[in-house]
Symmetry: C2
Subunit: 469 residues, 2 copies
């Protein structure tokens, strides 16, 4: 079995985990260490995550962690989620901690320092050279979700007058410590970013060529305060593996690499999905489902539930107002779930497609696109409505044995509700985006409430006209 | 204004678009071309997308396209969505088409050949050298969604006996045409992949060192038939910028680069989101919302709507069975929207978090995690239920002026419905995953239907007991 193959790794992984559990029992720490070292650091971190989650294995796992080669210790630490990092930090010596923090990539270092308690951060900073301490403090002050918070200051910068040979010699000298050497950034004397050049271009260029003749000047760069979502859009659009970050004066202060963007995309998608389901994360935390406390979960879910409850009360009041009419043809009550359910579902389908289309840039919140969406949803709702109401009409006549007038009332309402739901589902996200609000946050709960209310109003009015109640 | 800055580009873009529209009127094609060339190819493609969407500008846009330098023509073509590529293909000469296809990156070439009509593909293949034609045919046969369909055969491979100097000379020679030179793949004589080495390592290593002493042998590789979703998980976990792909015999056949993975992640997320909203894309097409036909939209939305309609019919039948009891205390009808709405919303919140947790690997579909989820959702539903039912109890007593018994009936039902919805929402996705079904596809519609049905049953039974109807 080829252990390098992705599809075999799970199996090999399980097998190793079994062995390691056994060895933990027998306290054979060196065997565990050797088994660990057969794997990539990301895999080792995954294994540690499991061991660190059991209270009775925690101290033993730390013993093994401290047996690992120092470079592996650093990388494994960087891959661990922050709560596991804290567990380790509390159980190793100051010297080990300083070593690990010192050797981490700068952006990982900032991430962990943001999570650690202030006293510990101060102790670490005391052991950091003064210039780096200043840099760390600057980075710690960038707000979450902005370009500054995901960039790293470890990049290769070249002077535009240099030759390829000088540039390559510089890269060989400083390259070891930078996150990526594949894109190099060209500055003029004043620290202003004037161009970019890929290592690829340098490698295949003649030695005597000057950097300024090889560099691209039509690069794209971001400012430290740009939103990380916009940065990730740019990565997707242009297919970059790194992007330079400049301050307000145009001076190069860092770069963002594509591996951090993968995380941003995942985060933003999770946010969108949760918001569409009516969950508002009050603290923008990225805690796992199981790690988040019951009360935090409840608090994140309550706001829209309360809003939707109030609107359900209004819908209830409408039903209440028609109490007398309903009690004369009580069978109408049994079609309420059908109308409210179908309205809610069709509205959610339309708004979900719209929210996704907006976030992927397929649809713009302009009048022209709004017209196209309305026209499209109108025709879709007629197709969908025709199918659903035909099925219903027959069912009400044949199975429920109701009069054609009752069937007509229900099916006419159904078509109108579907049309209303689909067009509202199409428009609310566009309006939210136009007003600068987050469509994922606003759309679904508002649509669901409005559709419920409208469906009952339409239903009862049509019933009054057709059935004369 | 610094045009390199991401945040200024939209504005500059709009300004240029205004000028270009004017010049199109005046048929000043060379001015348009010069304006285009101020931008990155991805930007030019975005502009073309807009022009190609207007029938009256189409031919003029093609004129400008043909004025672009050939290398720009190729890159812009590669960035365009496939329907716009087709518009261009139909309007340029065979020679131009062959040039463009010939110069494209191999994976982009395969993507466009998959979309073109068969006659055109044959005409292009006739002008392709025989060895490449064979390779293209192999690639065209990989099923969608597998690693083979997103890989490229353009990569650097080194022999393990080579020195760094030999390796660098080889890279300089062939590097120009490969998609990435930043990771090089080391083969033994038999074409078997034995290790990987980064360009970074080679650049900073002494010239006389041998590749085999620098290469990593604990790399991770995928097989051509591996699912693209698993590949993208591996990219996220390990932070790679490229991964090697091998065939069943372990021979290196291609690599997958991170820019293609960004697209896969976007695609998979869109699929998840649409499925959660009850949309089944029958053809797995990645057409934009506005490009997809009305009938296709309707067909994608109908299956679950029909399913949910049938289940609403069952819920309706329950109400129907209790017709007599309902008509004696008709006010109970006005609380139906509240119960059904809250049940549906709380269920959707729980199942959405669960589906997301499963797809991010935060939750495993095992008994242990199922227990944790149940316990958590139970407590959350008690918190949420307590808040919602307190508000409701007061509202029913004070505003609706109903008896305490009615208020008790509604609030007790509400708490039970929330508990049922949250626990079902937690369990159904786990069960679906365990059974090898897609939780995003199965969960929400099934939960919504079951919760609606259960909420009416619970409500009416409690009403019978408490109110004695």
């Amino acid at each position: 079995m080829d252990k390098n193959l992705l599809l075999n790794r799970d199996e090999a992984f399980e097998e190793s985990m079994g062995k390691i559990y056994q060895w933990f029992e027998e306290k054979m720490y060196f065997k565990i260490k050797d088994e660990f070292l057969k794997y990539n650091e990301a895999d080792i971190a995954e294994m540690f995550e499991e061991f660190l989650s059991y209270d009775d294995l925690l101290t033993r796992a730390i013993v093994v962690y401290r047996l690992l080669p120092k470079s592996v210790m650093v990388d494994v630490f960087a891959y661990l989620p922050s709560d596991d990092q804290l567990k380790i930090v509390e159980r190793i010596t100051d010297a080990e901690l300083n070593y690990i923090i010192g050797e981490m990539d700068f952006d990982d270092k900032i991430d962990i320092l943001e999570e650690l308690p202030a006293t510990l951060v101060n102790r670490i900073l005391e052991n950091t050279p003064k210039t780096e301490r200043k840099l760390i403090n600057t980075f710690l002050n960038y707000p979450d979700d902005c370009a500054g918070s995901i960039m790293t200051p470890d990049f290769i910068s070249l002077q535009k007058e240099w030759t390829v040979k000088e540039a390559m010699a510089h890269i060989k000298e400083v390259g070891m410590d930078t996150e990526t050497i594949y894109t190099c950034y060209v500055k003029d004397g004043a620290y202003k970013l004037v161009g970019i050049v890929s290592l690829r271009t340098l490698v295949i260029a003649p030695d005597e060529e000057r950097v300024m003749n090889l560099m691209h000047t039509d690069f794209v760069c971001v400012q430290v305060n740009d939103d990380q979502e916009e940065v990730s859009e740019a990565f997707k659009k242009y297919g970059f593996i790194a992007m330079p970050v400049v301050d307000k004066e145009g001076r190069l202060v860092g770069i963002i690499t594509v591996d951090d963007i993968l995380e941003v995309i995942e985060e933003e998608n999770t946010e969108d999905i949760e918001r569409m389901a009516g969950i508002i994360d009050m603290e923008q935390s990225d805690e796992d489902y199981l790690d988040k406390s019951v009360w935090k979960h409840a608090r994140n879910r309550l706001p829209w539930l309360l809003f939707m409850m109030f609107s359900a009360m209004v819908t209830g009041a409408v039903l209440n107002a028609f109490e007398e009419q309903l009690s004369t043809v009580i069978v109408l009550v049994s079609y309420i779930p059908l109308l409210m359910g179908t309205g809610g579902n069709t509205g959610a389908q339309a708004s979900t497609l719209m929210i996704r289309g907006l976030s992927l840039g397929e649809i713009e919140p302009c009048l022209e696109d709004a017209g196209k969406v309305l026209w499209k949803e109108l025709r879709i709702s007629l197709c969908v409505g025709a199918v659903l109401s035909t099925v219903n009409f027959l069912k009400i006549l044949i199975i429920d044995q109701q009069t054609p007038l009752v069937a007509l009332t229900v099916c006419l309402s159904l078509i109108l509700v579907i049309m209303f739901a689909k067009m509202l589902g199409g428009m609310v996200p566009l309006a939210a985006e136009k007003l600068g609000l987050d469509p994922a946050l606003m759309a679904n709960p508002i649509i669901a409430s409005l559709v419920d209310l409208a469906s009952m109003l339409v239903y009862l009015c049509i019933a009054m006209v057709i059935l004369g109640i």
